[in-house]
Point group: C2
Chain length 263, copies 2
């Protein structure tokens, strides 16, 4: 039984290098499909091309907003190694290219070797004590009906005084659909922009580029997520993300470069 | 008058999509060309293809070690916009592909808008009080003759007790060659791996992927650099870098994903 995310990001192979998919209704923010979701569609095709399931490191450059409707993914295997396969791909709609992707895929799993973590998961009140972002037709956007976000009550955008550009909270898919490594691509781009907390004008904050490292397959359950921006300079801002699973393990790291909203 | 870096990363256009270049002697670490330097060769060709000079955000996936000798860069403009041009490229030697790249290029410059920085440049003793990494035929590698690195004296690998996986120090090109945005691609991959400080076996730490955001053109003078690793897990580690110029401005942010050395 496939969940709503898996169905909405499904692709069908057309030929050696081409896949067909669809940007589904309801995954948008102000009419533009969520960037993590759009990337997941392209990544699913790229993983098939790679013959390996997990995007260990994947980068998307966003070329134009994705709108609901059919899309085509062209994927080329740049190198196929024993452990990693590297794929370059583009996702295009009938109007033109939406994103370009470069990713290295592998099978995440058993590993024995040194481990060292100099960080801890974000401290969050229990999900039921956090702020549930519910979808509306405008803001919060329809996309919030496709994911379940519960924000740290002291980091809710538009509520309370401006604070440091940080947003944290819980993430899961509705209906108990597990978040797999492709689902993590949605998690790293699902939260409201950190800059909405910084007293900047609330406006479209277009992502130029997003890179995600998928570090492990998540255990079932809520994911703890935290996003921080330290540099709003020269018209650009970065947003650094971390996603931790219910076992307390980091499962994804992300960074995106976005344009400062013009207000 | 072009400096040694500019000369060693020069490319010559062969046709619409193809450039010729060379991995020069002396830019290697144990026989393998420095990843930032190799990326700079490919980025120079990609910038020409883009018709815009600065790699605002650029990602390389490393496919095989680069050895001295001729290389070929194939670059395709994925989208040419008013402000940004996005290019996908590969750099290959006669033996096969060395790296794949995806980058968005623009002209960095004047911008007026909100700025906010929640970070400070690394605190470093004066360059003359730092540890000069001088090249040898083994370790420190020949590459250290192409750049000038001065490490924080308390963060010198192999000296003193193991510490947190952090390395910081000063960077410049020898002979007064200015560090331009392409030179910053060398700066973000020039320092010894942070894990050499963490008590892990000192061994080849292959970079799988490197992403750099070039946030501004550096002012002349020494660059302050800091690199940190927080997660050594599942056989992977990330290394986060920051480069600040002499005016106290962040000029580059980087993150790479590398394989934990096997000892």
């Amino acid at each position: 039984m496939s969940g709503a995310f898996t169905a909405a990001s499904a692709v069908r192979r057309i030929d050696e290098r081409t896949w067909a998919g669809e940007i589904a209704l309801g995954w948008d923010i102000g009419g533009n499909a969520d960037g993590g979701y759009t990337l997941a569609i392209a990544a699913r095709a790229a993983a098939e091309a790679a013959g390996k399931p997990d995007p260990v490191t994947i980068t998307a450059h966003y070329l134009s907003p994705g709108r609901p409707g059919p899309v085509r993914v062209e994927a080329n295997v740049v190198r196929r190694g024993r452990r990693f396969a590297t794929v370059a791909a583009t996702l295009a709609s009938n109007e033109g290219p939406v994103l370009a992707l470069l990713g290295s895929f592998a099978e995440l799993g058993a590993y024995e070797g040194p481990e060292r973590v100099d960080a801890a998961p974000p401290r969050l009140p229990a999900p039921e004590d956090c702020y549930l972002l519910e979808p509306t037709e405008t803001l919060p956007p329809p996309f919030m009906g496709r994911v379940e976000l519960r924000l740290h009550p002291q980091e809710v955008p538009f509520a309370g005084p401006a604070g440091p550009p940080r947003v944290s909270g819980w993430f899961r898919f509705p209906g108990g659909e597990p978040v797999d490594p492709l689902g993590l691509l949605v998690a790293v781009d699902a939260f409201p922009p950190t800059v909405f907390r910084a007293g900047l004008p609330v406006a479209w904050t277009p992502t130029l580029e997003l890179t995600a490292h998928i570090r492990a397959r998540p255990q079932p359950g809520w994911l703890r997520c935290a996003f921080t921006t330290r540099f709003i300079t020269g018209g650009f801002l970065e947003e650094d993300g971390e996603v931790w699973d219910s076992s307390g393990r980091l499962v994804a790291q992300s960074r995106q470069l976005a344009l400062v909203p013009r207000g």
